[in-house]
């Protein structure tokens, strides 16, 4: 069957806060759209069967495997990729923690790992080591042996919780 006979459908995606419009085939994955259509190559490709997690992005705030998510399933939904994590040139606490803890070797798994971790910390702000390991289980790393990654996530959680409690004390302070 020749390429041009495939029906393409328009889809509108909210990626990192911006709207992107594209026409895609029904079986085109979100991963292919991110990388090939929009050049967002921070999201990595490897097994293409949801086994390794390097393609992890957040869909409406929840970690999913972009390699088995169809682009058309994401119509009108919010997608966060690693490119959208830093704010105004300032790294996210998870990104800083990965650097400070030396949790990055070759780096290939890291975008997916950081977004997997973000999705975990967003629902469980203070996980213990077992919960962190369990939370990251869907994303594999060939290099680090995981300990430094787990340390980095724990470190980031502490930083984020501290920032949160500082915000709380200043707001209650203001009210007085």
């Amino acid at each position: 069957m020749s390429q041009h006979s495939v029906t393409r459908y328009p889809v509108s995606l909210q990626i990192n806060g911006e709207r992107y419009d594209v026409d895609v085939a029904p079986d085109t994955s979100l991963l292919d759209v991110l990388r090939d259509e929009f050049g967002l190559t921070g999201t990595k490709a490897n097994c293409l069967e949801a086994e390794c997690g390097v393609c992890t992005v957040l869909l409406d705030g929840k970690a999913v495997n972009a390699c088995i998510t169809l682009a058309l399933q994401c119509q009108g939904r919010q997608i966060l990729t690693i490119e959208g994590l830093a704010h105004g040139g300032e790294l996210h606490p998870l990104q800083t923690a990965f650097i400070e803890c030396g949790a990055v070797q070759c780096g290939y798994c890291i975008p997916g790992m950081i977004l997997t971790a973000k999705s975990l910390l967003d629902t469980q702000p203070d996980p213990d080591e077992a919960a962190i390991r369990e939370g990251l289980a869907g994303t594999l790393c060939r290099c680090t042996g995981y300990q430094k990654i787990v340390d980095a996530v724990a470190h980031a959680a502490r930083q984020m919780n501290q920032q949160q409690s500082q915000i709380k004390t200043t707001t209650t302070g203001d009210r007085q």
Partner: protein, 291 residues
């Protein structure tokens, strides 16, 4: 041949009408965690995909005092969260939380897990012990069936191509009751079950096993209820000897495969060992809840 059509119906009626019009070439897609991989491998070749993404009414869990109703699009993660503090239904949490990694649990649904009908599908054993019923809507209107009757074999159910699974329902076990699910895989995460067992136990006021419902997964072409083991235990005190005899009975009903992950003999031994452990876990939960 690639997929020609992608449809996003807005309600159940439209979904079912589309499915009837497009015929057996069309596949429903929920989370896609089974289907997309099967398409990649060339094992399924849908002409059309009917996406269930807009059917918000099927994404809810309704848990009243008596009846629990799960929409077919409820994800594994939702199940994990909804029953996290519920000793009676904690076995469902244990079932959902062993499915893949968090990414797969955010996308994968209970409806897909049931309709894909894998012998190793992890939600099935506990749902079987809960005597769950499935509710389907097709061209001829809605129908209800026992999950145990709905499942026919690997990849096979009584669902016709244009029938949409909308809900999964069961009666909440009453009185001193608890559930538990145990899975043996080769590693802790991201591994399909080598064997799994589920128990739903109700105790009489004098500590006898009054309501005993047991099921085994990944040990036969389809998850099954271990009826002989249930009968052996029914009405008796849960002493160690009887529990282990029940495990052996449940294992003898298994027709496991031998594959690279485990031999058939090893799988039988696992059933015999894990089933008593799941029952003891229920007893522990009942005891804790009473404190």
């Amino acid at each position: 041949m690639s997929v020609q059509g992608f449809h996003i119906p807005q309600d159940v009626a439209e979904t079912v009408a589309l499915a009837a019009r497009l015929g057996s070439e069309a596949y429903f897609i929920a989370g896609g965690t089974d289907l997309v991989i099967q398409m990649r491998r060339g094992r399924r070749k849908p002409g059309h995909l009917i996406s269930l993404q807009a059917l918000d009414g099927l994404k809810q869990i309704e848990s009243g005092a008596g009846l629990v109703s799960l929409g077919a699009l409820v994800t594994h993660k939702q199940i994990e969260t909804a029953f996290a503090a519920d000793p009676v239904l904690y076995g469902l949490v244990e079932s959902a939380q062993v499915v893949g990694g968090n990414q797969v649990r955010h996308a994968g649904t209970i409806g897909g897990n049931i309709c894909n009908a894998s012998p190793a599908a992890d939600l099935l054993p506990q749902l079987l012990t809960l005597d769950a019923e499935v509710v389907l809507t097709g061209g001829n209107g809605p129908r209800q069936a026992k999950l145990a009757d709905f499942l026919l074999g690997p990849g096979r159910t009584t669902r016709s191509a244009d029938e949409l699974l909308t809900h999964i329902r069961f009666r909440r076990p009453a009185g001193k009751a608890a559930t538990a699910f145990l899975k043996a895989g080769r590693r802790r995460a991201m591994e399909i079950s080598v064997i799994s067992v589920a128990a739903c136990i109700g105790l009489s006021p004098d500590g006898r096993l009054e309501d005993v419902r047991l099921a085994v997964g990944a040990a036969a072409p389809m998850a099954y209820r271990a009826h002989d083991a249930e009968i052996l235990l029914q009405g008796h005190k849960p002493d160690e000897d009887r529990l282990s005899r029940a495990g052996i009975l449940a294992a003898s009903a298994a027709v496991p495969i031998s594959d690279v992950r485990a031999s058939a003999e090893h799988r039988r031994r696992l059933v015999a060992a894990l089933l008593p452990r799941a029952i003891r876990q229920c007893l522990l939960r009942i005891e804790k809840a009473a404190q």
